[in-house]
Amino acid sequence: MDRKRDYYEDVEPLKTRAQRFWFAALLGALAAYPFLLPNYWVYLANYTAIHVLVAVGLNLLVGYTGQISLGHAGFFAAGAYGTTLLMAKGGLPFALALPLAAALAALLGAALAVPALRLEGPYLSIATLAFGLTVTQVIGRVGWFGGRQGLHTPELWLGPWNVATDRDFYLLLVPLTVALVFAARGITRTRVGRAFVAIRDSDVAAETLGVNLVRFKTLAFALSAFYTGLAGGLYAFVLRFIEPEMFGLMMSILFLAMVVVGGLGALPGSVAGACLLSWLDLELRNILAVPYLGAWLEGLSKTWFSITGVSNISFIVYGSILVAIMLFEPLGLYGIWLRTKRYWRAWPF
């Protein structure tokens, strides 16, 4: 590795030729994906891309700045409802409504940063959890937000382009996701990112070094909420229907789990974690169809448990993954990747 001459080289996304090659290959694969695979897989990709956005945004807060949040479903809901209502009731076009709703989420994030400035880990986790629950419950009880019955999203037009099918939406969503992931990567390597990490490692030390805690903690919350709000606004159009119960505690837990499983403080890890867990989230329901494993589980159900409750195995699998990751590889998938790389680099010695 050659010496770096100034800070901007840190930010530069693709340094080596190999990196550029693999990035081009990835872009090519992503571009070909919706044209080669069946529509369901495109839907799955959209669902995953949304979670990638959330995981990256949440990692900026949890992994880089060291602030816990169990309330990101609240920001997600703000983005989803904000976008839908700004379009349906405010008559704004999508291209305006989405960033506005995300900005609204960011504002909420900045507001939540006020208590967060003084809170220690466990208190912060409960405060954010309470925030998330409050948002969901308020939305569900106010008729103007569509109440419990939820809202259907309006048609999506970008200028003359009617984004109607899953493939159309993929073509909108995935480039945006790639760009935002790279933007996040850029942020982590600037002064701002270094300030985040300094706060995480020791806020007192960071303050002594001249990092303005108020400004950077608020910024971390707002930025993270912005990403999540953006993802929420887009999610409304993946589903084309939103209702308050979706944005519950389970969703916040899923978000946090993606970041942790992927690896704290590692953006590629967040992408991987989001991909793995959103896939599991949708596909674990088919676990009984897996050869051998399915039959074994059925036998187990008959002898010890119940057949009618057998689908709950998905909870057990999910929970076990979380526990196992924390016990065996606290750096998550990213840690596993690092170890594998190191192992093969020195192989066979």
Binding site: L37, Y40, W41, Y47, G140, L239, F241, L282, G309, N312
Partner: protein
């Protein structure tokens, strides 16, 4: 990815080859008809998931009797955990996967159903008998969506009519779950009371998470009702009756079909459910009709040993009956168009639910797609059995 891609190409090719004669309908082959359903097997709504398992037993019964016009039913049920995102994913996966789905049956819950309604409409896939009494299925009505479950509003109206008309009650109150289901109940009760020149004397919202029901009972008590409708979950209904009894509120309690599983209600209330009037949309669990006997035998034979012969289990069989009848009438040359045409001809079709009728599609007439319009009322007896109070009542 290349492996997956290659597989999908192979599947695509195979599908082209298998599709065979031109014009064969999606989800139908020479030997099978593919029917789909979603129902929560996990999460807080899982008790209603019995509907989806019940339908499975009916299809097994039909297959063992030789199927429908030489075709077996291939039933694809999945767990969505009552999460609309998962409902949509599952519906898409099955609908667009190899083989496709010919028609969807029931599907538990209002929110999951609303999340896929537009998708199924765009693809013109028939969907028969959503398992919830929400008014959304018929307002506005849709060509390929056949609602079945009597609207919660009908149930409310029937109960009010009985309480006011036969029971001579004047002060009717309601405790309702603060969601769509509860609010439908409030609307139905208020409308029927207005026809008698009365008003609800209290409307008390109950939240899903509420476990202490004293405040609700207190609010009800202030209105001095002589009858209270319970438009809540079974656990809340039992809590309200129990707390009410202890706090000196003893009106005539009346509740919806969601709490009509009297065996269960009697058991979890430790007997307090005695005397409560409920609306029923299915035959009683111990009914002696030939069809119910046959279904009970099928339950013994096919259902898992930990399954319970509950109302919502055999209601799941009932929700699938009109679809089966439509498939039978549509004959060997099965198309979606033929199915829809035959369903529209159903008049007073009687299975284990009430009578089911549809009309030719009329976008201005919700009733053209609302199959069942009748319920009957029972009172819970001391041993958890039901005393029939009325015959089937049709509510206009």
């Amino acid at each position: 990815m290349s492996m997956a891609m290659a597989r999908w190409w192979a599947v695509g090719l195979a599908a082209l080859v298998l599709a065979g004669p031109a014009g064969a309908e999606e989800g139908v082959t020479d030997t099978e008809i593919r029917i789909g359903q979603w129902g929560p097997q996990t999460g807080p709504a899982a008790p209603w998931g019995a509907v989806a398992r019940g339908a499975g037993v009916l299809f097994q019964l039909i297959n063992d009797e030789g199927g429908i016009h030489g075709r077996k039913i291939r039933y694809q049920m999945f767990d969505d955990g009552y999460n609309p995102a998962k409902t949509k994913a599952g519906v898409k996966e099955l609908q667009e996967g190899p083989g496709g789905i010919f028609a969807w049956v029931s599907g538990v819950g209002t929110a999951p159903g609303l999340a896929v309604r537009d998708y199924l409409r765009e693809r013109k896939v028939p969907w028969v008998g959503p398992a919830s009494g929400s008014h959304h299925w018929v307002s506005p009505p849709e060509k390929n969506l056949f609602a079945l479950y009597p609207l919660y509003r009908y149930e409310a109206a029937a109960l009010v009519r009985y309480l006011v008309g036969t029971g001579g009650k004047k002060r009717v109150a309601i405790a309702y779950l603060n969601d769509d289901y509860g609010k439908d109940g409030v609307a139905g009760a208020a409308a029927e009371l207005a026809r008698h020149g009365l008003k609800l004397v209290a409307e008390v919202p109950v939240e899903k998470g509420d476990s202490d029901l004293k405040p609700h009972v207190l609010q009800l008590k202030k209105a001095e009702p002589d009858a209270v409708l319970l438009w809540v979950t079974p656990t809340h209904a039992v809590g309200l009756v129990g707390t009410g009894k202890a706090m000196g509120l003893a009106p005539q309690w009346a509740s919806t079909s969601s709490c009509s599983d009297l065996v269960l209600m009697h058991k979890i209330s430790k007997g307090l459910w005695e005397g409560v009037i409920v609306a029923n949309f299915t035959e009683l669990p111990d009914a002696d009709t030939p069809l119910m006997k046959k279904y009970r035998a099928a339950f013994e034979k096919y259902a898992a040993k930990d399954e319970r012969w509950g109302v919502f289990f055999y209601a799941g069989m009932g929700f699938a009956e009109p679809l089966v009848e439509g498939l039978r009438r549509a004959g060997r040359n099965l198309t979606r168009q033929a199915l829809v045409a035959e369903l529209e001809k159903l008049r007073d079709f009687k299975g284990v639910l009430g009578r089911v009728s549809y009309q030719p599609f009329d976008p201005t007439d919700p009733l053209s797609r609302q199959g069942q319009r009748e319920v009957f009322l029972t009172r819970c007896l001391a041993d958890g059995k039901a005393e029939r109070l009325t015959d089937w009542l049709t509510v206009e």
